[in-house]
């Protein structure tokens, strides 16, 4: 535990600036992709593409900018549990509305 903790702190205290610029660049590229794709009509796939890109962008922000990658693993469990219940609410609601 102590060893783990020490490693975590070491990583946490010395991240370079480079990774943040890299993630920022990736986020801008993904924004470009999502704007370009929105101009093309893929029907229902257009929404799916936009949401997939948004999820990838959020993943990058969560892991790198919000430090989940170097944080204690229990943080990730908390985030997944929170997202799980949000998705459950959405799915349960749509079981009603799909029949309209």
């Amino acid at each position: 535990m102590t060893q783990d903790h020490h490693n975590h702190e070491t990583q946490h205290n010395h991240p370079g600036y480079g990774i943040y610029f890299l993630v920022w660049f990736a986020l801008l590229v993904l924004t470009g992709i999502t704007v370009t794709v929105a101009g093309i009509d893929f029907g229902n796939l257009t929404v799916a593409t936009a949401l997939t890109v948004a999820c990838i962008k959020s993943y990058l922000v969560l892991t790198i900018f919000m430090h989940l990658k170097v944080e204690n693993p229990v943080f990730k469990v908390f985030v997944w549990v929170a997202l799980f219940f949000l998705i459950v609410s959405l799915v349960l609601l749509f079981t009603d509305y799909s029949f309209i």
Partner: protein, 207 residues
């Protein structure tokens, strides 16, 4: 917790990890606040697909894209300010925090012009022009104003929080040995960014 503190040999009772976890728990309540609205949005969009597409044509994609770039860049400068304070670079950290606030101000100025243009065209909640439109379009603009409005409120609160942290950094209360408050402000700011990452395609890119 920090290496500087260990080196100094002090024993300060502090739990930075617990503080960050506390901030995350708060962010989950924010997730439910906005999540509920996203769920409402998805149901209404499902029920009124054609009207949502028609209404979204009124929104300016260029404004939305520009604000996305501004907010993503402000997230970068926020992350850099934390990386800087970790390396004991106080001036750089303060500079990055000020740039973050500046970008947030740009975002709000854009939002002001965008909303002004809409209101000028008579499209605002309860307006005669809007009430003549179909139900789906009224719902779209209602959600547009409440969701981007609540997000804008978060941007303003974020600016206040970051400004408070900047003062703390200048005074040395936030330093390379103790920066968990700046980290918490950063977490809040990145959440505001993530919410926009979803708002942008759902409102501006469905034409």
């Amino acid at each position: 917790m920090s290496t500087a503190e260990h080196a100094a040999g002090h024993h300060v009772h502090r739990d930075d990890e617990g503080a960050r976890l506390g901030m995350w728990l708060f962010l989950f309540t924010e997730l439910l606040l906005f999540g509920g609205m996203f769920i409402i949005y998805s149901v209404y969009r499902y029920v009124h697909q054609a009207e949502f597409h028609l209404a979204a044509k009124e929104l300016n994609t260029l404004f939305g894209t520009f604000n996305t770039i501004i907010l993503l860049t402000s997230s970068l400068t926020m992350a850099l300010s934390i990386a800087a304070i970790q390396k004991d670079k106080k001036a750089l950290s303060v500079f990055m925090q000020l740039i973050t606030i500046l970008f947030a101000a740009f975002f709000m100025v854009n939002k002001y012009f965008e909303w002004s243009a809409k209101i000028h065209h008579g499209i605002y909640p309860g307006s005669d022009e809007l009430l003549m439109k179909s139900n789906g379009e009224i719902l779209f603009f209602g959600l547009y104003y409440i969701m981007t409005g609540l997000h804008g409120l978060h941007v303003i609160i974020g600016v206040a929080v970051i400004a408070y942290m900047t003062v703390g950094t200048v005074k040395g209360k936030i330093n390379s040995g103790s920066f968990v408050r700046l980290e918490a402000a950063g977490l809040y700011w990145h959440l505001v960014d993530i919410i926009w990452i979803f708002l942008f395609p759902l409102f501006y890119l469905i034409t």
